[in-house]
């Protein structure tokens, strides 16, 4: 028996903290609640940018197996496998080149 497998795996995901954050710490009117009710924002931030990533990896395997029945009471089973795991790549941003 011989087996060849090709298993490319693609995954893409996005993650960000881009909704932003507003902080009311009371530094304007004295208490956080007073600042909040008055609409006096004391600090904040918002992350921006494209965080989408498209990563992929191709892997290959080859397996050969044989069985030899020497006698009615003795059977040899043996095989050999070779696997190649590719380098993870990125399609759009932060392109990664194969250097292995």
């Amino acid at each position: 028996m011989a087996s060849i497998s090709i298993a490319p795996a693609f995954s893409n995901f996005s993650t960000n903290t881009s909704r932003g954050k507003l902080e009311f710490d009371g530094s304007t009117l004295g208490t956080p609640l007073q600042d909040f009710l008055a609409g006096d924002v004391d600090g904040g931030f918002q992350y921006a940018g494209n965080t989408v990533r498209h990563t992929h990896e191709n892997s290959y395997g080859l397996y050969v197996q044989d069985s030899f029945r020497a006698t009615t009471h003795l059977t040899f089973n043996y095989g050999l496998r070779y696997d190649f795991f590719g380098v993870i790549g990125e399609r759009t941003i932060c392109e990664q080149h194969n250097e292995s």
Partner: protein, 139 residues
């Protein structure tokens, strides 16, 4: 699904999908609001395709070609993603980031408003697999 072209050529296939939605309260990743209404919910869909083509080459030889595909898609979205911050005067941008309340903190004595800072995010994981098995029986 099974299609028998003739006794020496048989094609078998199947497709499966499943959906789920989970809702995480109480500040997923400890960075979101602990008040009701600021959960993180995770719509999820998994899909699977499996194909098998068996070809009998001869009296002692059989070849089987298999193909598999699966996909896992999952989003982490703020509860109340239809809320527009601009409706209360907050311009937080456009797109999906502008469909939920930003995080609002009032010092350390009040529970914060808004879901986890890691929302929204989404991921798609796809795997393709091609396998060929060739059997030979010694005569």
């Amino acid at each position: 699904m099974t299609r028998t072209f003739n006794p020496n050529n048989i094609l078998t296939g199947r497709y499966f999908f499943g959906d789920s939605v989970q809702s995480f309260p109480l500040a997923l990743t400890a960075s979101g609001g602990q008040l009701p209404g600021f959960n993180t919910f995770t719509p999820t869909r998994v899909q699977l395709v499996a194909l098998s083509y068996v070809h009998t080459v001869g009296a002692n030889k059989v070849n089987e070609l298999r193909y598999g595909w699966n996909r896992f898609a999952e989003g982490f979205l703020s509860a109340g993603s239809n809320f527009s911050p601009s409706s209360i005067g907050l311009n937080t941008g456009s797109g999906i980031v502008a469909k939920a309340l930003p995080i609002i903190t009032l010092g350390s004595s009040f529970a914060q408003l808004g879901a986890s800072s890691s929302d929204p995010r989404h991921r798609f994981d796809t795997n393709n697999q091609l396998i060929d098995n060739f059997f030979v029986e010694a005569q």
